[in-house]
Point group: C2
Chain length 339, copies 2
């Protein structure tokens, strides 16, 4: 078997070399932009490459060099995330930054329970950790450079970049208090997400700082779903000595609460002040624009890629970095001074 030329196959570096009348090595040099090639040869090679529409096999390249610059974005398949617009923003941020840095982006919508199959990725970005911590640990154990988004991982030696959920929640409560509210309810998100837990934490902390007694009955636990938000809203609205304001852990749920309030004949913000979290564009469409907390999602996503890229390069001995990005309270129309 010495048939070097399989007509149905792709053109290889050898074909280029032959037609250009140079060695394979020289072609390789041209491909890799190594300056030592004589201008004339370089031109010749380049023209043959164009003529043959030659594309070097990245698999061969990666095998030969041992490098791969493939980034895997791992998104746990958790309904709550996918129904928020959160995932899209992250994907967008990561995707565009990968395009900029010339990294290949492998998308993994993974079942959190399964072990990770890293198909040749040289680095991994975890979009949140929801029930898939073991995947992160696995990656770390295998020494695969990783970065975690939207989850501040304290107890693992890994870079992470998250949003200050607790701080955002505190800002919400402080704002509500500044409007005179003292009876402030909270619809939590799903505590399998760190974000929900932190928001709850911030809520409690702010109450304490404002010398407001924390009351269990004002807390409604949900899984971020519209259904549970609706249920919670109904319960909230019909309770005696009701809250005058409610901080809802996501805009999507806040909108549902608004809808329920409206159906019940309540006026927002007159009868109830509402604050969401996310700055989901949907919050703008209702009759009353939603006051909410903006998170720098795109920035978080982009930074994660940059960070991973730095770690990936062994030259620049990048160290583990843990970042907490600030949020911003966006005041719109859904809150009012308490009567």
């Amino acid at each position: 078997m010495r048939t070097k030329k399989n007509p149905s196959k792709n053109v290889s570096i050898e074909d280029v070399a032959r037609l250009a009348g140079v060695s394979i090595t020289t072609v390789s040099r041209v491909i890799n932009k190594i300056p030592s090639v004589k201008e004339k040869n370089k031109a010749k090679v380049l023209s043959v490459i164009k003529e043959l529409k030659f594309q070097p096999s990245i698999f061969a390249q990666r095998l030969a060099t041992g490098k791969s610059n493939v980034v895997a974005l791992v998104i746990p398949r958790y309904e709550g995330v996918f129904y928020s617009f959160y995932a899209l923003e992250l994907i967008r941020g990561v995707g565009t930054m990968c395009e900029v840095l010339k990294l290949d982006l492998l998308l993994h919508l993974t079942d959190a329970r399964l072990p990770l199959s890293l198909k040749g990725a040289s680095g991994i970005i975890f979009a949140d950790i929801i029930g898939n911590r073991h995947q992160l640990e696995e990656a770390l154990a295998q020494g695969i450079p990783s970065v975690v988004i939207n989850n501040y991982v304290d107890d693992l030696d890994v870079s992470c970049i998250a949003v200050d959920n607790a701080g955002g929640a505190e800002a919400v409560v402080n704002y509500l208090v500044s409007l005179g509210h003292r009876k402030i309810a909270h619809l939590t998100g799903d505590f399998v997400t760190q974000a929900a837990a932190k928001r709850f934490e911030g809520y409690k902390r702010a109450l304490k700082k404002n010398n407001i007694e924390f009351q269990e009955r004002y807390v409604f636990k949900t899984d971020y779903s519209r259904g549970q938000a609706r249920q919670a809203a109904e319960d909230l609205l019909k309770m005696q000595d009701p809250a005058t304001a409610v901080f809802v852990a996501s805009d999507a749920m806040a909108l549902e609460v608004m809808a329920v309030a409206r159906e019940t004949g309540k006026n927002i913000p007159k009868d109830l002040s509402i604050v969401g979290f996310d700055d989901n564009p949907s919050g703008l469409y209702g009759p009353v624009a939603l006051t909410t907390v903006r998170q720098p999602l795109i920035k978080m996503a982009e930074e994660s890629v940059k960070e991973l890229n730095a770690i990936l390069d062994p030259k620049k001995k990048a160290k583990v970095k843990k970042v907490l990005l600030p949020t911003e309270l966006v005041i719109r129309e859904s809150c009012q001074k308490v009567a």
Copy 2:
């Protein structure tokens, strides 16, 4: 240089073979689940693999086999698409189906003007064609199996799977006519997208079928953006002899129209009936639930992967297939019989 063992390097199939006391080939057989291996050896190999945490290099595998089952999802970086929830649904559908079919998913948020760089993808799914037709043609010219989503490509020999936008639009107009409307306006989308063009086409066709004269003044061209929708809505509402109903090319814009109407003191659906397109969940939150057209996005996405997978397999000589998926009119509260 005959150092077979570089301690800092990854374990290779050779290490496994040595420790298991078999040949490399046998290890390869175990990896590829070729049944002819004796149970005892297989067990031994498996245990060594586990012990060494050996993971075969996919690059070497791909190079050796020439196969790669990597699917690239190409999404033109077009703001209009990314601000709709459309992209997320597609990514979700494609992503989960890839996971099911054990395909690797490479995500490309591409600048439509640039030539495509297919980093070793064995097949491509184009999420719509918006200004990047040349990329599709390039892929086809290179003989890379491709499938197009959300764009019925008539004049190219390529599989595509799209939604019946014209049919959906017709259904909308017919419904409006059945409610007694004769003065039906239309906010178009951006005509760089086929969807917008088809919806406009369906709108015109339905008018004709219902013997309603098409009036240019009832047509408002937009680029799918909220800003232009708002402008169009304002123009629409202040015109003399105004339309009694409006068919808006996207839910996001329909919501904006609703908002403007509300601000202007109009009542929906009393003063104006509105129908959107997309079945965007945001349409549910307003005070008046939006009547709209549901598109089988997830299904479309999933089918595209299946189709590509079929084409990818040369055994099953799959032929080019062009599919048009039906839409469904979802009647909610934003329309009313004309007085």
